[in-house]
Every structure is written in C-alpha cells, then in structure tokens.
Symmetry: C2
Subunit: 408 residues, 2 copies
C-alpha cells in the first residue's frame, strides 16, 4: 500500500484542485489492503500503453464530447490526465471517503488492488478537429482523416467512432474497469460514453521478452509483431516523426481499433489442415508451414511437390506480411473478448478486439486491411463489427496534460 506521504506527494504533482483532507487520511488509516503489481511510468516522450509490455486485461472506451468550447475540452483533458496520473500509481483519484455529505471523489472498487501495471492511453477522433467546432481545425494531425469503408468492415455505429478513445490496460481487470468508470464519472457534463469493450486476455506480445499468446482460434497470434523495446522499429513504424507538420503531434501515433467477431462454430467445424492453411502456420507450434519453430522465417516462395505454394496465396500470414505490403508493419495490442451469446445465431459472441498503433494509418493498417479484407482466407471466419481511428498525442510531461500542445 502506498503510504499517506506518497499519496500526498503524488496528489501534489499537477493535481491542482484535489482536496486532500480528512477523507484521504481516513482512507489510509482504515484500509488494510496491500498494494500489488508494477507501476508503469505515466510521463515520458510517448504515452504509456503503446510500447509498454502488454498487460493481461483491457477496457477500451470511446466517448463523445459534449463540451461546447475549446476551454471546456481543455479542462476535460486536464482533469482526465490528473486522474489517470493518480490511478496509474495505484492511488484513488480523490478521497474515496471524505465528506460524508458529498459523493465520494473515487468510486472505490480498486482500493487495495495496487497499480497493477495500469496504463491509460488517450486518443482523439477526427471530429474534434472539425471546422467550426472547437477552432482546432488548423491543428489537426496531418493523417487523421477517415480510412473510409475498408474491405471486411461491417462496423456497427453503436460500437464505432467517438471523439476521444481511452485504452485502459492493467494486469487486474477491476483496475482497468475502475479507470474507465471514474473517467466517465469525472467527464459528466463534458463527455458521454459512446461504446466500451472489455478484453479478458491479451493476444499480443508487445515486447521481445513476452511469449506469444493464443487467440480464440487456438493459434499463436502476433509472432511477428513489432516490439516496444526495439527503438529502431518504433521510430520507423509507430512514432510520428519530425516530418509531421503539426509540431505538437510529433512523438504521437495513430491507433486503429477493430472489434473482430470470430464465427466460432464455423471455425470449430473446420478441419485442421484448413485452419492451418487459412493462417499459414501450424496450430500447435505456431511455426510457419515452411518451418519447424514459431520464430522460423516465412518462406513465401517455397512450393510443395505439387508445385503449389506451401503457404497458400490467400493465407493470412502471407497477406499480412510486411514483404507483401511494401514493408508496412504495425504494433498490435489485441485482446480476446466475449459478450455472451449472439441472439441471432445462438453461438458465443466472442473474438479479438484488435488494436494497432502506427505512424501512418493509411499506408499501414488501411493498406494491409485492404489486401486482407479482399483476399484473406480468414474472412470466412471473422466479421469486423466495430472500431475506430484516433490520433494518439505524444507523451505527457510532469505538470502537463494530454494534448496540451494542441492548446498552446
């Protein structure tokens, strides 16, 4: 458990307006829970939650902004930053039991759970920069424009888009839930939840030291993912560079989300060789069909005795490979989800909530998805049912707030 001194010290950093009084004291005197889990630094050149080793659990939310002025939007981002900063330290956003005659400043369900490696990552949707809305149209990140309807997109408007996205990742799902819930509460009057998605298990390794997990198709997913601990790759593929005309946005990134429903019954009825040819890898080992071990390179030229490519022309790994996409690669950070039963079919509504970071969503995600959505053998077994595109501002300085450069 953080000491009271740590709480007060933390609360003093960029937390103007936080009333730290009897309530906060009472909290640390009464609560006997113990802190657990790592703390991921909140400040830095880039927002946490991108290059960070993928945590186990996710809650992803998109908000519509109801604030009417640029000043109110700025205040919302300032308040949210302050709250995120505290929560990522495992601290409540304010006294969870201060004034008996006021609603608690923190909803309390994460008390005692510790930081749990929480990261809170913010992104801005295109409409924030619409002419005439907040007077920000001249500050729009240069590549934040609609991807259009991509092949395979059947996006439900109720699970798509939004003005601001918040990705909360943590090793404890209640810590991730608490972050979104308290941001929603703090935002009342300025922002309303548009959609949210719980992800119960990570399907990506995002640093070189993590093992590749399996997705709900039973395959290792993301063997060739970019890694946050490879600075060269991150600079080349993920972080917006000095060529960005909007100086405030340099060091940022773009995130694309897709709620990819898996048609589980169809997949489960398909035979093993079809599954492996669909993906282009062996199911158990994760090795490419041209190799023996998971990390063996793909040999896209190899042909079998019958003269046909060993990795089929429409296999997922072939179509998604950088060499097939002019070298384009993306940093994936996906999570398995399930939302109960699909009433229409009676099967589990489950799949992969796909999240990808990149410096150019048009030349990276959209280009790859255009190829995949048109030809990928996997299309028979998946549906893209929701998602969005957001510009992810650069990292936050101590004392600053997310996207503060936008208002400078």
């Amino acid at each position: 458990m953080a000491t009271r001194r740590e709480f007060l010290a933390a609360a003093g950093v960029g937390a103007a307006g936080l009333a730290v009084g009897a309530g906060a004291t009472a909290f640390f005197e009464h609560d006997d829970g113990s802190s657990s889990g790592e703390t991921v630094p909140f400040h830095g050149a880039h927002q946490a939650g991108i290059a960070t080793a993928a945590q186990d659990r996710l809650v992803f939310a998109a908000f519509d902004v109801t604030a009417a002025t640029k000043g109110e939007l700025r205040e919302l981002l300032h308040e949210w930053t302050r709250a995120a900063e505290l929560m990522t330290k495992g601290l409540p956003v304010g006294p969870p039991a201060g004034d008996k005659n006021a609603p608690p400043a923190d909803t309390g369900e994460a008390l005692g759970l510790g930081p749990a490696a929480l990261t809170v990552t913010f992104g801005l949707g295109e409409y924030i920069f619409a002419p005439g809305r907040f007077g920000l149209s001249s500050r729009r990140p240069s590549l934040l424009r609609s991807l259009g309807k991509l092949p395979g997109d059947e996006l439900d408007p109720a699970k798509s888009g939004g003005d601001i996205c918040v990705q909360a990742c943590a090793d404890d799902p209640q810590v991730a839930f608490h972050a979104i819930r308290d941001l929603a509460r703090i935002g009342i009057g300025s922002a309303v939840l548009r959609w949210a998605q719980l992800g119960f298990g990570r399907t990506s390794s995002t640093v070189s030291t993590q093992e590749t997990p399996r997705n709900l198709q039973g395959f290792k997913d993301g063997t060739r993912n970019l890694h946050g601990d490879n600075a060269e790759d991150m600079n080349r593929f993920v972080w917006v560079g000095d060529d960005e005309p909007q100086a405030w946005f340099r060091g940022g990134s773009y995130v694309v989300a897709r709620r990819i429903r898996m048609l589980i019954n169809a997949w489960d009825r398909s035979v093993l060789s079809d599954q492996e040819n669909t993906i282009g890898r062996f199911k158990l080992s994760g090795a490419p069909l041209t190799g023996h071990r998971e990390h063996d390179p793909l040999d896209l030229e190899a042909r079998g005795a019958d003269g046909r490519p060993v990795i089929p022309a429409n296999a997922h790994v072939r179509l998604a490979a950088p060499s097939t996409n002019d070298g384009a690669a993306i940093l994936r950070r996906g999570y398995s989800f399930t939302d109960g039963i699909d009433a229409a079919t009676g099967e589990l509504d489950a799949g992969l909530f796909f999240i990808a970071y990149q410096r150019d969503p048009h030349k990276q995600f959209a280009a790859i998805q255009t190829r995949l959505g048109s030809h990928d053998a996997l299309n028979e077994y998946i549906l893209h049912t929701g998602g969005g595109l957001f510009a992810v501002p650069p990292g936050i300085r101590p004392g600053g707030f997310v996207a503060d450069g936008l208002f400078a």
Copy 2:
C-alpha cells in the same frame, strides 16, 4: 507442463472413446508453454467450485437441451464430465492437432495456460424433470421448483433459465472461456447455449483465508459469507442432507444466479453517508456502522443519540442478516461484470453476477430476497436482470459422471 505420460494416464481415466494418437504426441512434443496454477481435484463427495476458494474469473453458461431421449441426455452428461475432468487437469479434451483431415478435438486456446484452478460445476434446471420429457419426473430433487417472481426480479428471458447450467471458474479467464466453449462444441446436437455471462473479478471470499474483495459499488462484499472450509456450516446451510427423499441427490446443493445490474451513475452521485446507510457499513473499512473493523459483529439494536437505529431499518446488511431471516444463510460466489454500454441510458452496463449455493432455495435465497426485494434501500441502485435456479448434483466419483445416480 503435464508430461505426455500424465496426459495418457489422465486420458485413460473414464475417458472411453478419446483417441490419443499422433496428435496428442505432437502436442506435447511441440508445445513449449509451461503449466501454471493449481489443480482443484475434480472428484469428491461434492462438486468442486462450491466450497472451493473462489477463483478470480468466471464464465457462467446456461444450455437448453435438445437431446430427445434419456439416453442422449445421459450421454451428454457423460461426455461433458469426461471433458471437464481433463480440462480441470490443464489438459485438452482431446488431441488439439491430430488428424489433419478432421476438426481438432480441442479448440486450443487454453494450451499452455495450465489448470489455473479451473472448476466446472454442473446444475440441472426444473424442466429436465418435466413429466413426459425424459421420464425423470419421479427423480426430481424435492426442492427444485420455481421460486416464482420474487420482489425485484425483472428477469430478461434471454438471460434467464435453461436446462443445464455450467459454472466455470478459474484464475485465468481464457481457461474458463475455453471450458464453456469446448463444452458447447461437444454438446452440439444435444444442447445449445441459451445465455452466458463473463465475470471479470470475484466479489466473494468463500473460504476463511481469503480477504473480502470490493464490488463495483466500492464496498467490501460478503464479509459475513459462509466459508467452504467450515464443514459444520456447509452441512447446515449448503449440502443437501440425508433428509432428501431422492437418495441420488444427497450431497448436492441448489444454486441461484442473478445478474444484478448496478445503476452506476445514480450510485456515483449519491453522497457517502447515503451509500453507507444503504449498505449499513463504512465504505473504506467495511466495518458495520456499529463497529470499527470489518469483522466486528453487527449490533442491530444500537441506537444513536437521536434514538434511531444506527444501522437503518432498511439497510442491506440488516435485511440480509441471518438473524433477520430465521437464521437463513447462503454461500455467495459472485463476480463483477461489465457488458459495455447500456444503449438506453449511455451508462456502463455493469454490476454483480450473483451466485449463491444453499440446501433449500425457498427458505434461504427466496426468503431473504423477498425481504430484500421489498424493503432494501439498495433497490434504488440495482436491477435483477437475469438468472436461474438449478439443482447441483452431488460430487462425481472416479469413473462416474455428473448426476449418474439419476440414471441408475
């Protein structure tokens, strides 16, 4: 990781018909994941997952049986038992990559995740025993009859009832998901999913050594819960005893589930004293309003300087207390859930998936809920939106299957 010898040995126990061939061998030769987590014994006098220390994650599913005959129902329960037995050992239900020309016998997403303390607990709904259906009406557990519409029930039929319930609890959510998914797959032709609920975090301690977790209202929940390691309480309140006329059902229990939606925005706007008076406990410490520490006894007689009860007449802890309910107590095993946004209100659809075990659902859950549903101050902040009542057969003998006594 289990050795191949262990897999073969395990597969040999009550697993007639499981083809253990090249595929299983390949699995253990190629997979480099390591087993993790505890194994909870599957066999015993009572089903696992009731007295067991509450695991962190839940997937709860209800199935409708489509099998037409008693023999087919028996075969379904036999097959499901065999699969559950393997999965609780951290083993696949069959070779996940055997015959290339057949669908894999296991869907594969839990490979390498270990047993993760998985328990799979089965219950039977009332309609299994309907006259003229399977010829089992004379074998119906004596207290398995509808609870009727209880005060507070606004149960959505699409999230309620069912012929068979399966509670999968594990410390890894993908292990719990895999259990339900593979049982659904194995059941094709004999049973179809009716509804399912993911629970992301436990809200109950079910043994004396577990700390009390917080629910999404931010309060410690279940401080006075029954404990699975207290044999006297379990025999008195949870396990069906020798007075049960159906000999096959002795040692069983009854489970009541309720999907309790919390009206989060209303709760978060309420002031601390209202929250504490609603529950009857202090929010931070979890102590009763008449005490200082979480486990201090409730003093339901205490009155304040104003002459009014310190624990209000309509406080949740007062109305739920055994002393208010003729001594009735239940073993709770609840989980927090969230299912995204409620489209009607724009707030998070989240709450507590309540699960309670008892030996008499009428004198225990229904009696308590009748009092709570009519008078509980908490009703302003919750909705019961789904659930069911199921008879939970006694434990499974090695070589036997769940409810085998029903077919003897």
